[in-house]
Symmetry: none
Amino acid sequence: MPISPLRKDAARNWDRIVAVARSLVDQGIPLQLNDVARRAGLGVGTVYRHFATTEALLETVATPCLEALVAQGEEALADTDPRRALETFLARTVEAQVTDASLAPVAAAPSDALPHTTELKTSLWATGSALLDRAREAGVVRPDLVSADLVPLMCGIAYAVDVHSGDPADRIDTAHRYLATLLGGLRAVPPQR
Amino acid sequence: MPISPLRKDAARNWDRIVAVARSLVDQGIPLQLNDVARRAGLGVGTVYRHFATTEALLETVATPCLEALVAQGEEALADTDPRRALETFLARTVEAQVTDASLAPVAAAPSDALPHTTELKTSLWATGSALLDRAREAGVVRPDLVSADLVPLMCGIAYAVDVHSGDPADRIDTAHRYLATLLGGLRAVPPQR
Amino acid sequence: MPISPLRKDAARNWDRIVAVARSLVDQGIPLQLNDVARRAGLGVGTVYRHFATTEALLETVATPCLEALVAQGEEALADTDPRRALETFLARTVEAQVTDASLAPVAAAPSDALPHTTELKTSLWATGSALLDRAREAGVVRPDLVSADLVPLMCGIAYAVDVHSGDPADRIDTAHRYLATLLGGLRAVPPQR
Amino acid sequence: MPISPLRKDAARNWDRIVAVARSLVDQGIPLQLNDVARRAGLGVGTVYRHFATTEALLETVATPCLEALVAQGEEALADTDPRRALETFLARTVEAQVTDASLAPVAAAPSDALPHTTELKTSLWATGSALLDRAREAGVVRPDLVSADLVPLMCGIAYAVDVHSGDPADRIDTAHRYLATLLGGLRAVPPQR
DNA sequence: CATGAATGAGCCTTCATTCAT
DNA sequence: AATGAATGAAGGCTCATTCAT
């Protein structure tokens, strides 16, 4: 949502822009501010006023979903079973990524256009980190995986689902299958044999 | 290498182009046929004559590496330990991907520019498939992973390594760590608890 | 200062705008009304209400300096030595131009945005003209230079100083040197030889 | 002229571009590569291929004139009268500047787009410098003017002529008058009084 | 009076591809 | 076969000015 309260008409334009961007993202069409402006029936300048860069717009599109994930992270932290807490949280994470095309690029980006995005990502990272630590201490995950690996691995799974590219309806199932496999390996396996 | 025998000068040009492209790929510079032509000291037309599209050139650059992987697949098939065979083969696969920037896009592409690329990829797929089947029959991998998942998962790991983006020298280690985790999960784990 | 009495708040805005513009001019940043508005913490409309064009604002910024020059012109007219009167006046003129970046464009402009600017420039022109005439009658300047040449020559010197572009601290010295040279030539030199 | 020999058609385009640019310069219309392309009936890319920047095109337009000046510099150096040599050279210089609008910006620019331009400017500077030194040694110019002042002063005169802005036909006369004045001052004048 | 959102023409630049030489 | 000039659509971004609130 816009940082400072906007005039009603400006707010309507802001909404339109984000809506158009959302629909483009959903159709897999790359965001271009000129294009967004045209489709929204607005001048380019208007779009640039609201979103200085493509990234800023994309992050704005992704924000609601990131916020939902943050909320789900809170819930996971409340779960007393360390393994279930971690696994549920990661499941929500990959589900979101394979469901909403705006997330993957935002998650993988090394830097953010909007401070708010950074806050959300930091919060998510902290949650994941806490959940992983707790699980590790409980001895339910292998000890050589660290919190800095969580984001790459989740992005990797989402990417794998993209590469798999079967029926769009199967994306979530595939994601679950891949995550389950990874989680199987994440469990504290003594290097067998 | 070029499919049909070329005149000697044409062959030299072909080599130059591929060499330039290889060095660009290694430096992380996106391939552009104009650019390649200039750096190779050739006309654009010459480059287009040899490689109709950027993809064709990229696949050509990737070919030796794919061929090496095919050879390693043969070796793996000769290994009598089903699990070790599979795991070794997958390890070679991800190592190649994180080492050679030309592979990831070729591996992930749903279609190929060159028939030869398709042959190599098909061969690799068949090898992976055979190794996976054998391992599954031996009961050493979980039964819900099918051969169509191998490529996506390997690409996913390579992507995860990219997202991790630490010291380039650590890429192989990171790749091994991620693969080990996945393989841990790949092992025939009874849904615990 | 604003022509007609303004409401107190309007006057405060006017002051802010001019102050911001002055600081921009001093930093060599080109005036843009949008930019000025933002830096002044005002709406663009407010700035446009006060100053219809960039030129109007620039002339307003230049005004105090022009007024000071007019005053110095009065003093020069009171000097009984015709040559010294002229030379001192011209010295003040170029010093002002190389010191205050708002002057050069205003001085060189063939037309003005503000009537008051025209008045000041006319007054300065008249002063220069009178001083030149007096000097010419006294036989201390060459006869082929006319009052219409004074402004161009002073602007030319200021421009030459810009082109010279050495240490900013040397600008005045350079200007003096160039003016001295010109004045040397201005003196009633019989085409020697 | 183009550095390496061009194909006939390319040469024709090069000529067209330069001709269009020349006519724009003569009409006082600012050069814009897109605009030049349109007027020349060529694609933008063609213009960009020949001239990477506006400055490069402008310098190309100015080149013949600069070359002529260089030639006149050679002649001046052959003149045995130190004062006449210097004064004639400077006269040619300002005449060129007020006659050809492409010169002033090129002369005043602190850096050049084309190496050839730099060569020409360097050569001119050296010539002016030599002529000035010779004149100074002969005691016919004041000692405090150095070669680094020549370019600024010539540019200043040209600028003064622009500011004067009378009948275009009078520009050369005005330039001569201003130069004569300056030269009068340049002569070795003991600080009189 | 003040605001500042909206406009959109206008400029710049890149690059994949074609085709005359 | 080789060349490389030409093309021009496409995309990015800025900024002076207007006008609804």
